[in-house]
Every structure is written in C-alpha cells, then in structure tokens.
C-alpha cells in the first residue's frame, strides 16, 4: 500500500496543488501557462490509465481511444446539439466509460497479457479509423475545428474565461479538475477498494478465494479508469478547440502517455503526475531544436525500462527511505 501511494500521499497532493495554485498569479507568460495546462490535462489522463496499467496490473494499450471518445463525444455533442460543454464533458466521460465496459467484457475473460495488450490496441485503431472515416461528422484528418470553449463563469463579480488564448482561466480550470480527480483517486485507493485492487494485482487466485468477484471488479475499475481518461479528453477538446484522429488516438499519443507513466513510475500514485510534468516540459523545451520529441520519448521509455523500472516516484521513495533510516 505504501509502495503504491507513497508516504503521506494526501499531504503531498495538497502541497502540490497549493504550489500549482499560486503559479498563475506569479507567472504571467501565457506560453508557460499553456504548457502547464497541457501538463495538468495529461496528468489526469496518465493517472486514469495508471489505474488499470499499474494498480490493477491489467496491461491495456488502448486508453488513448477513451481520450478520443471523450474529446470527440463532448465536442460533437456541444457543437451539433448546442448543449453547454459544462454538461457535455460528463457525457464524454460517460461515453468513454461505456466503451470501456464494451471492450472490457471480451478481454477480461482472458488472463493472457499479450491478448489484452493487442486487443486494446486494435480497439484504439478501430476508433481512430472510424473517426477518420466519418468525415461528414468529424471532418476526418482535416480536423474538427471550431469546438466551443467552456462558457465563461462569473465568480462573485470576476468573469473567468476559458479556451485557447485564455491561459489564466484555462489553467485554473485544468487545475480544479486535476485536484478533483486526484483527490477522488486518493479516497478510492486508500479505502477498501484500493486494498482489494492491490490484493488482486498481487494474486488473483488469493483474492478470488476471499470472495472477490474478479470480473466485476476489473470491469468496474476499467470503466472508472476509462471515464477519467475520457474526462481529460473532453477538457482537452474544449481547451485546444481543434481535434484530429491522429493527434488524439494515434501512436504518438500512446507513446507519450506510456512514457509519462513509465518515467514517473508504473503503479504509483504520484508517478504519472511526475512523468507528465517532466515530459511535457522537456518536450516543449526541445521543440525549438526540431522534431526530437518522439526520438526522446521512444528512447526514454527504453532506457527507463532497462535502467530504472521503478521510475522517478520509486527513486524518490528510495531516497526518502534512506534519509528516514
């Protein structure tokens, strides 16, 4: 349990959120705020995926499909039906959760990891192709543009605006969802559910013998994880305001997120957050030198798997333990 959550996870999260909350009042450069907004959204995505990949130990490779379903679902619903994005983001998350249930049923009967990995990857590919082919609705690879931003909020006289070109509001909105999702994850993981998940990861047989209904649990966690990823996709859609199938559910998205989780630390609560922060910032910094981002992400995944499989979170925990001893 400590391995998964680290020591004092609530305090760590609270401190992190406090620091992040000060940033937009200190940093005024809109570009920096944009990069950090992307970090926050990807951290939600990575933590959602980590729930199945690391904590449940179910090696799925298709979570970018849920990101795209959440993004396109929310964007299209608000665009074509005129529903407020404040409502459609939840529908987007719901669509992702339903898709998670749908794809979860065939794969959860199989215990073979390669089967799970390949089938979830194939599912993501189907979603990408369908989004690219339904040109009348999604405009395919030309991009679904003109997505509504989240409508402005009036907070006690101050109007906060969101969307592209509104870095201050967008950052705070992303931070609010970041805080909410991670607080929820922490509550869930610290309770009975977390214990059950760890028991299942350590030994499915032992957990089953203690009357844990494996299939229902896995399906539930899978749908929950898909919903979180779908929510991050929906928030992303209304922030960036343009989507293409390749940029949301292409191989680059898969590798970027995989790199974040592996660099941060698979199966650790703070891992995906650390990984998302590091790779988003480094990836942006590299942008001026040319297109080295994918070279870096691919190489870094390989190096961390070979040399530091516990990731940054595991490494920090090790240092903390040494200092405590």
């Amino acid at each position: 349990m400590t391995e998964m959550l680290g020591r004092r996870p609530a305090l760590t999260l609270l401190l992190l959120i406090a620091v992040l909350a000060v940033i937009p009042f200190v940093v005024t450069n809109p570009y920096y705020l944009h990069v950090l907004t992307i970090f926050l959204l990807f951290a939600i995505f990575a933590s959602g995926w980590n729930l199945t990949l690391g904590i449940l130990g179910l090696k799925t490779l298709g979570h970018h499909a849920f990101f795209a379903l959440g993004a396109y679902g929310s964007a299209m619903l608000s665009h074509y039906a005129g529903v407020s994005p404040w409502a459609t983001i939840w529908v987007g998350a719901g669509i992702a959760a339903l898709a998670g249930l749908l794809i979860g049923v065939p794969i959860l009967r199989i215990r073979s990891m390669p089967h799970v990995a390949i089938v979830t990857l194939a599912f993501a590919e189907i979603i990408r192709l369908v989004l690219a082919n339904l040109k009348d609705w999604t405009r395919g690879e030309l991009g679904f543009w003109g997505i509504d931003a989240m409508p402005a909020l009036n907070l006690g006289g101050t109007v906060v605006e969101f969307g592209t070109g509104k870095p201050f509001g967008s950052y705070l909105l992303a931070l609010a969802f970041f805080a909410g999702v991670h607080a929820l994850l922490l509550v869930v993981l610290r309770g009975r559910i977390g214990l059950t998940l760890v028991a299942m990861r350590d030994s499915e047989l032992a957990a089953e013998s203690l009357a844990v209904d494996l299939t229902r649990w896995k399906l539930g966690v899978f749908a929950f994880s898909a919903a979180i990823v779908g929510l991050s996709g929906a928030l992303y859609a209304h922030y960036i305001q343009i989507l293409t199938p390749t940029s949301t559910v292409g191989p680059e998205m898969l590798v970027t997120l995989l790199a974040m989780i592996i660099v941060g630390g698979v199966g650790r609560f703070t891992g995906p957050i650390l990984g998302a922060l590091l790779l988003t910032v480094v990836g942006e910094a590299l942008r001026e030198f040319g297109d080295y981002r994918m070279l870096l992400y691919g190489g870094i995944v390989m190096l961390f798997v070979l040399g530091a499989p516990r990731g940054l979170a595991g490494w920090l925990a090790l240092i903390g333990r040494r200092r405590a001893a």
Binding site: S112, P114, I126, L258, A259, M294, Y297, V301, M302
Partner: protein, 291 residues
Amino acid sequence: MTGAILIETLLNGLITGAIYALIGSGIALIYGTTRVLNFAHGEAMMLAAYAALILSTTAGLPLWLAALGAILLVMAGGVVMQRAVIAPILAREDWSFRIIAATIGLSIFLQSAAQLIWGEGFSALPYFFDGVLVLGPVRMPWQRIAILIVALVALGLSALLLYRTRFGQMIRATAQDAEAAEAFGIPAARVHTMVFALSAGLAAVGAIMLAPLLSVNPWMGVPYILKAFAVVILGGLGSFGGAILAGFLLGIIESFGVTLTSSEWRDVISFGLLIAVIWVRPYGLFSTREG
C-alpha cells in the same frame, strides 16, 4: 461478381496474405520460443527496405545483391536488438510487460531516427520483375505474383528448418521448455538470439518484396505490425503454422471485404473481426487452449 473479378480478388487476397504471413509468422516464432511480444518487428521491415534502397541506389549494387545484403543486415540487427534490449529485460521479474513497453519505445525511436536521417521523402525500389501475367481475363503484374511465390518459398524454407533440421529441433525444444532444453545441452540463450534473426529475416523478405510497390518511408512498418498481431492472435499466439494460415485467411477476407465495401473500412473489418474472434474463441481459430 464475375469469375475474373473473383479470381483477381482471391489472388490479391493471397498476395496481401503472404505479407501478413511473413510478418506474423516471425512474431509467432519469437513469441513461441521466448514469450516475447516484439512491437519493434515492423521496424525490421522499414530498415530492410531502406537498406535495400541504399545498397542498390547509393552503393550501386545489383538489385538482387542489394536485397540479399539488406536481409543479412536486418538479421544482424535482430541479433543486436535481442542481445542489447530483450535479453537484459528477460532476466528480471515482471518482464512480460516491460518487454512490450521497451519494444514500443524502440519502435518509435527507430521511426523518428529514420525520419531524422532519411527525411520524410517517399521513394520506391525499382521493380524486380517487369511485365504482366495475363491469364484469360485476369491481369496481374509479375511483381505482385512474385510476392506470393517468394513468400511461399521463404516460409517453406523456414518450415523445413524448423521441422527437418537439428537446429529446428533445438528451437522447438527451447520453445517447449527452455530450462529442460538447457539441461540437455541446448544453448537456449543462443537459440533465442537466432530466432530473432530468423524472424527479422522473414520480415525483411516481406518488406523488400513490397518496397517496389509501396513507398519506402519511416512509418511503413506501422500498418503491418498491428495486422500481424491480429494474425498471430487469430492463429493462436505462438503457433508458426497458425500464423501463416491466419495470415492468408485475413488477406482473403480483407480482399473480399474491400470489394464489397470500400478500402477505408478494410482495417476496421480486420480489427473488428479480431475482437469478435477473441470474444468467442479467446485462444485463436485453430486451438482451444492458451498458447
């Protein structure tokens, strides 16, 4: 559907299927002997095509010699990759997912390295064979027919190697039980390396035969690797024969699927089929047990 279209569709399916069988059988061979799922297999194709292109156009070698050289280079690359990346991870616990992650990383790394070195330009290898085969109303370029023939020869030779030689016996023994094989004096680690070389070679053959028809580019392996995974699952993960059979079957299904719908939906059909099969026959079309 007239007779000529029927034959042409079938032939096209067999040709596509031949490529799937070449790529898929390599993945199945690696999985069967080492339980490793190699996501960088598509990049063996890409590197083979570039190697053949450079050896023939830049170095000026005759086409057949360039192809042979490219196959040998990629097989050597397979050896290096197995030694440098796969073997160190296999020695650790929980390696199964780590290998997947590491080979996904390697795959993207090689793609972007190729893009940085050779650019995004699309070039093609010259045709190996000119002319068109005319059989009554059916017309088919020899280059496409050659894919089928070369693939069948390469797969046949691999099958002979696996089932008729001492080395093949060693591979199959290692696949059944690596520890027991070692107890009988079989160098299992070296067998693993050789299997990587062999399957990289099969992928290289496929890529070089395709290179005159397709453009050689950094991402040319991507569509095939996913298809090959589908083939390997349909054929029963780890089964060499199953992968070949499923490769041809998928090629034919796709070919008829495209004639009936449109090419945009081809891959949706294949992957949809894969998920449907997983639903009813989790361990492949031809076997009932976990591989």
